[in-house]
Structures are given as structure tokens and as C-alpha cells.
Amino acid sequence: MIFQALLLIVLVLLFGYLLRSRGSSKVRAYKKLFLVIVMVGAVVAVLYPGVTSNIAKIVGVGRGADLVFYVTTVVVLFTLLNDYVKDKEEDRRTVKLARKVALLEKQLKNSK
């Protein structure tokens, strides 16, 4: 139970940190690392199904399937949030660009 609480806190902090400091190369590196770990974990879980059960027992989340489910949920949630923030940022850039075009066009018209 204590471990689960800790896990939740760490996850929330991690989410917050990664979402807030998007864009810096350090964060991008962490994200890749995170992805690689998940991928490796997935391969291991496929090759040795018993491993997930053992890890699940150690960290105290019940069955191996539960652990896989938790991890999947976290990854999906993170991806969703990350994409949402990215989308907003992309939007912001487009708006800036379009505004610049509009104002420049206006200047051009006026100077004619």
C-alpha cells in the first residue's frame, strides 16, 4: 500500500515535470529513455511471462497482469497528455506565424 502511494506521487511529479519543462533537450532525452525502458520491459515481459509476476509481487501490486495494466495505463495517459500539450504549442506557433503574415500584409498594403 505504501509503495503504491509512493508510486503515485512519483508519477504525478514526473508527469508535472515532463509537461512543464517540455522542449529542453534534457527532457526530450528523459522521454526517450522512458520509452526505451518501456519497450525493453515489454520485450522481456513477452519472452519471460513469469518475470512480470515476480516484479508485481516485489512491488506489491498483485498479479503480473495487473502490473502490465498499470504500466500501460501510465504510458497511454502520458502520451495523451504529452500530445495535448504539444498540440497546443504547435497551435501557438501557427497563430504567431499567421498573425505576422497578416500584419505584414497590412503594412505592405499601407505603404503602397
Binding site: 508535472g16 512543464r20 504549442e89 497563430v95 499567421a98 498573425r99 503574415v101 497578416a102 497590412k106
Partner: protein, 234 residues
């Protein structure tokens, strides 16, 4: 006498965001030009004849190459005004004819007299004609939500009629492109310690403004953005 009044208003810019408002824009502008010489219409990528109508009246117009949203249009209007050193006061005014120019006059006076940075129109201090009960309850709910989350107490949080000075315009820097800009402006008031007040205005809902208004379901987007902004800080 008429000329003197116009001269005094030389430093006021009326910014009108417009998206496919060809039907209404002419009569909205006509109500303004008699009193204020500086108008900028921000065409937000309209696909109808909005731009032709505006330019046909000899009124200044900036055109977004693509549709960006009302918040983005307001920010474009602000940046246009900031690029002109003669502009000291900014007014945001809806294109659909729901605002009255008489209110702008009073709001400007109120701003100058009390040395405020921004004055927000309030239909709930003033009057909202022909408002549907659904719209009214939604707006009231939005006010409650905003007062709870923003720390700036207001009676009407989504009123398009605003008057502000150059200092407020410089701080505005609106990032939310869609209708969330209303909450963003309120956030700026708090963040930048802008001196603000509300002023009673009359909003007249017509068949046209009702058909043009944002759909009620969009409130969910606005609410979500506000909460998300609080949590993630973006």
C-alpha cells in the same frame, strides 16, 4: 463641436474581430464611425464577403490567412494598435451588433476618471435584452467558476466589450486562440495587477447574434482549458 469630439477620440482604437460577418459588419461599423475615427477589423480568415464589405467602407482591415479563433484575432488587433504610437486606448467590440457604442463612451470616461487599466462590460450589472434562459444560466455558471478559479471577482466574465489602456494592452499577450481568451484576460488582470472595474452595459441579442454566437457546448472546452492551465501551467 462634432470635430472636437472626433479629435479627442483620435487616440482610441476600436478592434473588431470578425469571422464571416459580412451580413452584419456594415451596420456595426456604421454605428461606430460616427463617433470614433480609428477602427481596425480583424478578419479571422472569413470565407464570405466580410473583407470586401469592410474595405468598401474605407475602414482598416487586417486579414488572418487562416482561421485562428477570436482570441487570436483580438491579440492581432492589440498588436496592430501597439504598432501605432498614436493609440492610447483600446476597445474590443463584437462584430455581430450586440454591443452599443454609447457604452464605450461611458466606459472610457470611467477608465480615465478612475485611472484604471481596464474596464470590462457587464451585462448583469446592466441589461441583457432577449437573452435565453439557457444562455443566462450558462453565463452565470461561468462567472461562478471564474470567480472561484481566477481570484478576480466579476459579475460577467464573458463579455466581449472591454476598454483598456496601452499598459494593459502591452501586458495582454493572449495565447489562447479560441474563446478561452476571456478567462485569459482575467488571468492577466491578476498576474499583472491591472487596475480594473466593471461597468454596466446593454447587450442586445438578435436572431443574428444568436445564430453567430458560440455554441453552448463550447463551455466544456473553455472550462477544460482553464483547469488545465491551472494544473500544468500552460
Amino acid at each position: 463641436m462634432h470635430d472636437i469630439i472626433i479629435v479627442m477620440k483620435q487616440n482610441v482604437l476600436i478592434a473588431i474581430p470578425a469571422y464571416n460577418e459580412g451580413e452584419q459588419i456594415v451596420s456595426t461599423i456604421e454605428s461606430i464611425t460616427k463617433r470614433y475615427p480609428n477602427i481596425i477589423v480583424i478578419d479571422d480568415g472569413s470565407v464570405d464577403n466580410t473583407v470586401d464589405m469592410v474595405e468598401g467602407m474605407g475602414v482598416e482591415c487586417v486579414s488572418h490567412p487562416i482561421n485562428l479563433g477570436q482570441g487570436a484575432a483580438i491579440q492581432t488587433g492589440i498588436e496592430y494598435g501597439l504598432s501605432r504610437p498614436d493609440i492610447e486606448y483600446f476597445v474590443t467590440f463584437d462584430a455581430d451588433g450586440q454591443h452599443r457604442i454609447e457604452d464605450v463612451e461611458k466606459m472610457l470616461d470611467h477608465l480615465k476618471k478612475n485611472k484604471l487599466d481596464i474596464v470590462l462590460g457587464s451585462r448583469f450589472l446592466g441589461r441583457a435584452e432577449n437573452i435565453s434562459w439557457q444562455k443566462k444560466s450558462l453565463l452565470k455558471l461561468a462567472v461562478k467558476f471564474s470567480n472561484l478559479t481566477s481570484g478576480v471577482k466579476l459579475t460577467d466574465t464573458h463579455n466581449g466589450l472591454r476598454v483598456f489602456n496601452r499598459r494593459a494592452a502591452e501586458q495582454m499577450n493572449l495565447q489562447m486562440s479560441d474563446f478561452s481568451h476571456a478567462s485569459e484576460i482575467i488571468n492577466r488582470i491578476r498576474e499583472e495587477n491591472l487596475k480594473y472595474d466593471e461597468y454596466p452595459v446593454t447587450i442586445v441579442y438578435t436572431e443574428y447574434s444568436r445564430s453567430k454566437g458560440q455554441s453552448m457546448i463550447n463551455a466544456i472546452n473553455v472550462g477544460f482549458d482553464a483547469i488545465f492551465h491551472k494544473v500544468v501551467g500552460k
